[in-house]
């Protein structure tokens, strides 16, 4: 039995030995073939290196210039996933002619320091945020919204806190407007700095067989106004619905005209039956004279129709009713460094309990801007305002606006 087992093992080993010998022979053959291939490739590389050297030499002899060097990668690679971060400082010195200054507005102040953040969230959406600080230790979340691109029918949506596209001035950040302060109609109706609200809106550029461009925006916002605004009541539970239609046409290569219409419907009070309808109309004529030289004529008017809840309570003459206000702006960019302009304001105050119902606020404003660079701007402004109380207020502003980091302005 043992002998049989030994014989069997011997036979198995002999068979394996023969198989191993065959495998070794095959491997040796493959090594020879691969050695041959490597040798041929080495020859090919040598020939090509020689050809490259000849071409380089010929090029440099022919043109007497050294051959361009390979692309150099930036030694400072931009961070790939860090959001765009910027800051805009708005320093304002104000002096007015009133003899009293209970709110301490006549001073040099950091009116606001905006921290601007933004980045793509994913291939379909982007998040933008603007946080404003001032020297009264107040923090205001001006914007924090998601933009979702590429929705059905070519629609773009925004959701979050944003500047609604009501007219021309409300959607624009303070550092991008032509004057130190917003037009009186914006301040009185929507808020001292316009209005930013939480909500959602949809925008679509219409594909029409026309030479003009038409864009529609519709949205729903939380109720209320910006700080100091009077168009709507403070009830945030009652949403404000709004819509805007922008119509734009290039008259020539250097002249264009835009006509817009807006409507916003919101609540005046906790009782939703008391509504304010805001109708707006804006027009802008823009003419480019040359590089860094252009003129802009812009006008905007808002009509408020209010159903007021306090008619009977306080015995006011007629606080419900229609009010309107508007402004006209003429802005000239004289050169890369200088610009100037003039603004006329007219606004009927909504809160007639505090003002003469027969009077409106009227303002005349002139300004001169010096652009030190793309990121630093100095502005002087004088305003002469006829107040509803019957008085006159002359205001002088000096403003410096300085930006650092990345700060992309949205196209309006």
């Amino acid at each position: 039995m043992r002998i049989a087992l030994i014989l069997m093992l011997f036979l198995i080993l002999m068979t394996q030995k023969e198989a191993c010998a065959e495998n070794i022979a095959a491997l040796e053959s493959q090594i020879r073939e691969l050695t041959q291939v490597v040798h041929e490739l080495k020859n090919t590389v040598d020939i090509q290196q020689q050809e490259i050297s000849d071409l380089k030499r010929n090029y440099e002899i022919k043109y007497q210039v050294p051959l361009p060097q390979p692309t150099v990668q930036p030694t400072i690679l931009p961070p790939k996933f860090t959001p765009e971060i910027g800051a805009v400082a708005d320093v304002v010195a104000k002096l007015d002619s009133s003899k009293v200054d209970p709110e301490n507005v006549n001073r040099v102040s950091i009116r606001e320091l905006e921290l601007v953040l933004g980045s793509n969230v994913d291939p379909y959406s982007r998040l933008d945020a603007t946080i404003a600080f001032n020297d009264k230790n107040e923090i205001d979340l001006e914007e924090a919204y998601l933009t979702r691109f590429g929705l059905p029918f070519g629609t773009t949506a925004r959701i979050g806190e944003f500047l609604p596209k009501i007219g021309k001035m409300v959607p624009v950040h303070r550092d991008s407007i032509d004057t130190v302060d917003e037009p009186l109609v914006i301040q009185r109706y929507f808020g001292d700095e316009g209005m930013h609200k939480a909500g959602v809106d949809l925008t679509k550029v219409l594909d029409l067989p026309l030479p003009s461009v038409h864009q529609v925006t519709v949205g729903v916002l939380e109720g209320g106004n910006g700080d100091g605004g009077t168009a709507f009541g403070p009830a945030r539970r009652r949403p404000t619905l709004y819509g805007h239609l922008k119509n734009y046409i290039d008259i020539t290569d250097v002249t264009n005209f835009e006509l817009g219409a807006s409507e916003a419907v919101g609540s005046n009070a906790n009782d939703a039956s008391f509504k304010t309808n805001v109708l707006g109309l804006d027009a802008t004529l823009h003419h480019i004279i040359g590089q860094d030289k252009e003129i802009k004529l812009q006008g905007e008017a808002f009509v408020l129709n209010r159903r007021e809840s306090i008619d009977e309570l306080d015995g006011a003459t007629n606080p419900s009713g229609d009010f309107w206000g508007g402004y006209g702006l003429f802005d000239v960019r004289l050169s890369s460094q200088w610009g100037t302009g003039f603004r006329f304001d007219y606004v009927e105050p909504v809160n007639r309990l505090l003002a003469d119902p027969n009077k409106a606020e009227i303002g005349y404003t002139g300004y001169l801007t010096f652009y030190q660079s793309e990121f630093a701007r100095l502005r002087a402004q004088f305003s002469h305002i006829y107040l509803t109380s019957g008085g006159i207020d002359d205001r002088v502003f000096l403003q410096g606006t300085f930006a650092i980091g990345e700060h992309k302005h949205k196209l309006q």
Binding site: Q69, F149, D207, V213, A261, Q291, V303, E374, K410, L411
Partner: protein
Amino acid sequence: MFKLKYLIRKITVMVILSCAALSAAPCHAGENPLKVVATQTMYSSVVKEIGKDKVDVKYVAPPKFNVHFIQPKPTDVRNITKADLYVDAGLDLEAWSDSLLEAAGKPELFRGRERNVDMSKGIRLLEVPDHQLSRAEGDIHIYGNPHYNMNPENVKIMAENVLEKLKSIDPANASYYETNEKAFISRLDEKIDEWRKLCTNCKGREILSYHKDIAYFADFLGLKADQYIEPKPGIPPTPKHLEFLEEYVKANHIKAIVMPTYYPKDAAEVLAKRVGAKVVTICQNIGELPGTDDIFSFFDYNFREISEALK
């Protein structure tokens, strides 16, 4: 007032509904050329050379204006909403481009996406920063000098970038685009030889430029351009800097001050008069001057002008 208000509201609603109805109607039928929007005229010209009648190309930046400071218009937004392809400079030259794309809201055209052509791909960049940057250095570019379209050798790389993208989004016409690209490159090679011969007198000479936008042009011709009318990129010249330049130009026997049409000429002309140099207009954009309406006439003009000025 009430009646007027409700009338305005009704009209507004009717206009919006009418527009929406018209908008929903199909506007196109049959095989149409690819709609392409390019940021600059150089890029639209390259696309047209390769796509010819298979592409309908529009551009954003008017050629008579400085591409750094373009204000895109709603018309550009509308064109991009209809576009099949968007072509831009990449890098950080066109700071307005991302906002424009976002306003149009077509994600497939965004940077790095399938229907976006970054013309800087494969370009050998010059003046790539080798230190931590600061705005104290002026309006500088973080990836390197982005004015690469001033070197005709780079146009060949741009053509390759366009060809690759056209083939990928319109494979049915791939051979058509390849044929056009080969013919374009062949003609460009012939012209490059011609331009080099024309400008043999420029090699090793020094010029003064208004802005730091001449590096690739100088590199192609073997010119030297170390000083600029702007003390820092984007910063207008100061009297002190002009005094320095006056000494520098005299000491280095500089004969030509080059600048595109859109910068103010006052400082350059005053300096040129003081030192006996010539102000030479070198176009940055195709179509910036009459007679520079395509790639070949654009480079013809620029090389002829610099060669003449340095004779």
